[in-house]
Symmetry: C2
Subunit: 111 residues, 2 copies
Amino acid sequence: MERKIHDCMDGCPVESTLQIISGKWKCVILYRLIKHKVCRFSELQRYMPGCSRRMLALQLNELEADNIISKKVYPVIPPKTEYSLTELGETLIPLITEMNKWGEMYNQIHR
Amino acid sequence: MERKIHDCMDGCPVESTLQIISGKWKCVILYRLIKHKVCRFSELQRYMPGCSRRMLALQLNELEADNIISKKVYPVIPPKTEYSLTELGETLIPLITEMNKWGEMYNQIHR
DNA sequence: CGGTATCCGGTAAGATACTG
DNA sequence: CAGTATCTTACCGGATACCG
């Protein structure tokens, strides 16, 4: 398995995590998948009006490639897809939850 | 107080957190400041060989502007500065710790 | 509906030089 | 030592069009 990030003399595990969840919308996608369990593409779009369709697709592809989420495609017309967390993706729940908690606290202060 | 991110119809607190800690090196900087309490500029540089001096300065400035870290400048020659977490910055410890834990777990798997 | 392909402009970030 | 200033480039990401 190839290391994605540079091996520095004292690299910290935080960098591995960043490698997976950095990217403007990934954490928000994960938050939604945690909250709703299963989401369709258009559903995610509605939750993230600031994220273009193209960007959403890119981020979803990357998360899928990293085995964080999985995609189920229904062979119907019009097309229907459903995204959900993989087993590995579910291990991120405490982290995303912590991010959400901190954001809530921060929003309380900055009001 | 101005909202930095777009107000979307159902924005999640995760986005507020991202607003503060996103940026390639911020989490690594925070990890170091958690671990070592106080760091000089050159010390941080040594811990992050992949981060240029310019980038390090930019990220530190942003974290300082957001009141996450504070800088102490000693008026000596040659100059000496020390960075450390603010009180607000310390509230990020659980989050960064969780990021580190997940990274450790992930590294175990991908070996 | 759920994407991909192509084009293109703005900005993030490296390289280098300079400073107190 | 601890930065800032300037220049230049790469690429991120938006807009648009197209497709099964």
